[in-house]
């Protein structure tokens, strides 16, 4: 694409001042734009403060009496503790490079969804409370007073940010809006302001081990149920191990793969892969009914909660005495693993530096965390010719790939999933370059925003993604959107249904499961969804 010239760029600049400054526009809490508040019992379960019934539409949010002191103290502590937060509060020059990069702004057209402005909701208070210039000059220095209205505005817009970090990619200073949101959400949590779609899964995870509160025996039954289906389709019944001491590898995946379509088909893909590796190479992979959740909704609550929920991964690996951990297709789980786990709950010096025992490949990037992403693992197996595959079984699919925000921007995982898809499918087309890889658009439902009550916000936030899918659908006939995140697999089907109904959604390992030739299998008639394979239609 040719670079625009100065005249063209200049012509796009509006020289008019907005009629009203943002500080003068009061927050309007609209139904359909906010998630329901947390169930107080969920907050109490994990010892979060000020649990209560309240409604965002009420005038009175029943804030604790000393709420102002709590916020001031909370902000002060975090400014001292997190250098990043302090720097991000100070250095923004309001250049606006991030302004039009947020999918929620692009879709809703609400200016307070511009990352710069969302952060200004905080900076204005930081300046007013913690800087001399702000204290003396007030609004002239971009400061404002801390009021209940400010708290309402914080809560409303903090939970319209999916922490996808697309804005940070374009910031010349590298200001990470996600970190501001993360800390902002910590502050709202100090006042008992959270959302139920985050707080209840976090409590379930803490109490039972996974977001839905599914108990260990039900978890095991579900996987066995998938084994029934696999046996019906292939004639081979995988025998997964659970909580097996001395296994080579512990496998942890988001519970969405076990309990929600179409993630369940991805889960069947994992089961088939592990069966294959056991039969062909004697590799023992175990599942855990204790560490039965890769996702970490503590990450959307506070650093402490994230640490508490994450701890079970290493604890279970230690208890079982495995060599290293393999992680399934998940989004924010990988952000937590890649960027926090080692510091929070490490060092995992009781585990080995991960080496693929079948190929001898050292996973250098996982040397410290001891946890390997499954697409990297499978890509390595395929690269070394260790899997027998029949790509033609996916010939009815014309596939594109949605880079899930966290694996893409959080850990730079771009090539491996594409390599796996291209190895198991004959038809693959990428979406336009400014919508994929590090510039990928969020599904619109990350960071605890996949709640039904904000579906319209999610559809608007997901519009840039859907729009790019629509483009490849019209240009190449794409009919399947692959992804490597459980939230994507839950959020993208309704999103596609609204914007591009001809496109379905899959995890990468569902495609692998379809193509993988299990030793001794019968001739397959259907794919993992029970649909006829290409050439087997009646």
């Amino acid at each position: 694409m040719a670079l625009p010239n100065a005249r063209k760029l200049f012509s796009q600049i509006s020289h008019r001042m907005p009629k009203r400054e943002w500080m003068d526009i009061p927050v309007e809490i609209k139904p359909g734009r906010y998630c329901y508040p947390a169930n107080p019992k969920s907050l109490e379960t994990v010892g979060m403060p000020h649990a209560r019934q309240w409604s965002p539409l009420d005038e009175d949010w029943k804030l604790p009496e000393n709420w102002m002191e709590i916020v001031r103290q909370g902000m002060k502590e975090r400014l001292e503790k997190f250098r990043s937060f302090k720097v991000f509060m100070d250095i923004c020059v309001r250049c606006g490079a991030c302004a039009d990069k947020c999918h929620y702004f692009i879709g809703t057209g609400d200016p307070k969804n511009m990352p710069v402005l969302r952060a200004e909701l905080f900076r204005s208070i930081y300046r007013g409370e913690f800087t001399k210039a702000g204290k003396i000059l007030g609004r002239f220095a971009g400061a404002r007073k801390l009021t209940e209205e400010v708290i309402k505005e914080w809560w409303y817009y903090l939970y319209q940010c999916s922490e996808c970090r697309r804005c940070s990619l374009f910031c010349p200073y590298g200001i990470d809006q996600a970190e501001i949101t993360i800390i902002g959400r910590e502050l709202t949590n100090l006042l008992g302001l959270n959302t139920d779609w985050i707080a209840t899964p976090a409590a379930n995870c803490y109490r039972t081990g996974n977001h839905l509160g599914i108990q260990p025996h039900a978890f095991k039954e579900m996987l066995e149920f998938f084994c029934d289906d696999i046996e019906e389709i292939t004639g081979i019944r995988p025998e997964p191990s659970f909580n097996k001491k001395g296994a080579d590898i512990l496998f942890i995946t988001p519970s969405g793969d076990v309990f929600a379509d179409p993630g369940t088909y991805t889960c069947m893909g994992y089961l088939m892969l592990f069966h294959y590796l056991k039969e062909e190479y004697g590799l023992e992979v175990t599942w855990s009914t204790y560490a039965s959740e890769g996702g970490n909704f503590g990450f959307f609550t506070s650093h402490e909660m994230m640490k508490r929920l994450n701890a079970k991964m290493y604890m279970e690996a230690k208890r079982l005495g495995v060599k290293w951990i393999l992680g399934g297709e998940c989004g924010h789980m990988w952000r937590v693993i890649h960027q926090y786990m080692d510091t929070m709950n490490g060092p995992a010096d009781f585990l080995e530096e991960p080496v693929n025992p079948i190929t001898g490949t050292k996973f250098e990037n996982a040397k410290s965390t001891k946890m390997v992403h499954i697409t990297e693992f499978t890509a390595d197996l395929i690269k070394h010719g260790k899997l027998k595959l029949d790509k033609s079984r996916n010939d009815n699919l014309i596939v594109t790939f949605h880079d899930s925000c966290n694996p893409a921007r959080g850990m730079g995982l771009f090539e491996e999933p594409r390599y796996v898809i291209k190895s198991v499918c004959n038809n693959f087309y990428d979406m336009p370059e400014n919508t994929i890889r590090e510039q990928t658009f969020c599904c619109g439902s990350g960071a605890g925003l996949n709640a039904g009550e904000i579906e319209e916000l999610r559809f608007l936030g997901g519009l840039p993604r859907a729009n790019a899918v629509k483009h490849v659908h019209e240009k190449y006939g794409v009919n399947m959107l692959a992804c490597i995140c459980a939230i994507d697999r839950a959020a993208l089907p309704p999103l596609m249904n609204y914007w591009v109904p001809e496109v379905d959604v899959t995890g990468v390992h569902e495609l692998v499961g379809n193509a993988l030739i299990l030793p001794g299998e019968q001739e397959r008639e259907t794919n993992l969804r029970g649909e006829p394979l290409p050439g087997k239609e009646e």
């Binding site: 796009q12 509006s14 008019r16 907005p18 009629k19 609209k30 359909g32 734009r33 302004a99 039009d100 990069k101 702004f105 692009i106 879709g107 809703t108 057209g109 609400d110 200016p111 511009m114 579900m222 336009p432 400014n434 919508t435 039904g452 579906e455 319209e456 559809f459 608007l460 519009l463 840039p464 729009n467 790019a468 483009h471 309704p494 249904n497 609204y498 914007w499």
Partner: protein, 171 residues
């Protein structure tokens, strides 16, 4: 067909005003973004509005609108129906074309006495309003039916997994 040739002649100015009128329902900062970023992937809202308004206008210039018209209207309505507007506001763009055309061609209509042709054009706009309303309702109903279907299938699956229901063939 003097009126239609005037519409063609003033197409650019009419489209610009029509587009601006649509964007005036957004805060100024957002309208500026929707207006100025020409990339179809990083500004899907603004680009869909701009392109589809032109396509709709071209359809209205034809004697008979093609079967593509609903698709063009749907492109805009599908976005507007999600953006927290009241229904009348979400569809304001179909009403505003009448105003924009009148502002652009008022003097010519009077001068050449083109009321007859203008009347047939306004009738077409009325049909467009009906179409936009149908599409708006389809979008809203789709959102609610997706929610309802999701809840139904969730409950059904839970009951099925709990062994509380059996299909007829399984009895």
């Amino acid at each position: 067909m003097k009126f239609y040739s005037l519409l063609k002649e003033k197409k650019k100015s009419i489209l610009n005003e029509w587009f601006d009128d649509l964007l005036s329902s957004y805060p100024e900062e957002s309208a500026q973004f929707f207006r100025s970023n020409p990339n179809q992937f990083t500004n899907p809202v603004g680009n869909t509005f701009r392109l589809n308004l032109e396509k709709i206008f071209d359809e209205l210039l034809c004697e008979k609108c093609s079967e593509k018209l609903p698709e063009y209207v749907d492109g805009i309505v599908r976005i507007r129906s999600l953006q927290s507007f009241a229904p009348s506001m979400a569809l304001i763009f179909v009403f505003s074309l009448k105003k924009v055309v009148w502002q652009n061609l008022r003097s010519e209509i009077k001068k050449y006495n083109l009321y007859e042709e203008y009347y047939t054009f306004v009738n077409k706009l009325d049909e467009l309003i009906g179409l936009a309303f149908d599409l708006y309702m389809q979008c809203r109903e789709q959102i609610w039916s997706q929610k309802a279907n999701y809840m139904n299938s969730r409950v059904h699956k839970l009951l099925e997994r709990a062994g509380l229901i059996k299909e007829v063939g399984e009895l």
